[in-house]
């Protein structure tokens, strides 16, 4: 789980509807595949993603193995005012990756 990429508009006004696009590198191993010796490759996926803005929840996704490798997620927010996003990806086993990005509110 690394290299999270987040795309936000360069600038937004309070009341604007903005789209947030996120992408992260991850194998999203389903737990259904077998290695050449016939042993099941254990499941290892990002099972949860969440986005908060200025401490308030905006969007959350519960993910299953049916989500493609390098999970891409896009969603919307009505800008309430100035603030900072906090994006959290959680892997099976509990490892977390947190990315904080300030939104340029004009």
């Amino acid at each position: 789980m690394n290299k999270p990429r987040v795309k936000l508009p360069d600038a937004a006004k309070a009341g604007d509807l903005i789209e947030i696009k996120t992408l992260i590198s991850h194998v999203m191993e389903t737990g259904q595949r077998k290695d050449p010796d016939g042993k099941v490759i254990p499941r290892n996926i990002i099972n949860s993603f969440s986005a908060t803005f200025a401490g308030n929840e905006v969007f959350k996704a519960d993910l299953q193995p049916g989500i493609s490798a390098n999970p891409y997620l896009s969603f919307f927010m009505r800008v309430p005012g100035p603030g900072e996003f906090e994006f959290t990806w959680v892997e099976d086993g509990g490892n977390k990756l947190v990315e904080k990005i300030k939104l340029n509110v004009t």
């Binding site: 803005f53 996704a61 049916g66 989500i67 997620l73 919307f76 927010m77 009505r78």
Partner: protein, 157 residues
């Protein structure tokens, strides 16, 4: 001598458990044969909606008609909603009816979301119907369906 005595006792016990197991197996086999098992996705859908009847057609699923690569199929789900504090879409569940695990994702929204829409990329094991189920703040459910033809299946089968 003790060994010789122990052996027949063990045999009798093994026979008894074996016979009981056979009877149980025959009983359960008869039961399974009597009714067709419900597909996993229908059970999942039932668990989500409970007794309420979802309204069909008010949820939009954007998916390609033909997916050449089932490992990465672009998906957008959306529902028309004012997304105010009293009237909003709480969640949208995505179900792939013919995947080994039909539950794909649940997107959760709130009044801050502004628009009940999300996009991702999903895996499809084979040609199948994909279902989107939205849960509204007033307890109602909306359902949308779309069939995708898959040329090369995903899920590493």
């Amino acid at each position: 001598m003790t060994e010789a005595n122990a052996t027949p006792r063990l045999d009798r016990r093994q026979f008894a458990t074996g016979a009981a197991g056979l009877v149980l197996f025959a009983l359960s086999a008869g039961r399974v044969g009597a009714q067709v098992p419900e597909p996993a996705w229908q059970q999942l859908l039932k668990n989500l909606v409970g007794d309420s009847k979802p309204i069909e057609g008010k949820l939009t699923l954007e998916l390609p008609e033909i997916a050449e690569n089932g490992n990465t199929v672009p998906l957008t789900v959306s529902v028309e909603s004012p997304m105010t504090a009293n009237d909003y879409v709480k969640a949208i569940h995505v179900i792939a009816t013919e995947n080994p695990q039909p539950g794909v994702a649940t997107f959760r929204f709130g009044p801050l979301s502004g628009k009940a829409s999300a996009a991702t990329r999903m895996r499809l094991a084979r040609t199948q119907e994909v279902i989107g189920l939205a849960e509204l703040s007033d307890g109602k459910f909306l359902l949308g369906r779309r069939t995708v033809k898959v040329t090369i299946g995903g899920c590493g089968g």
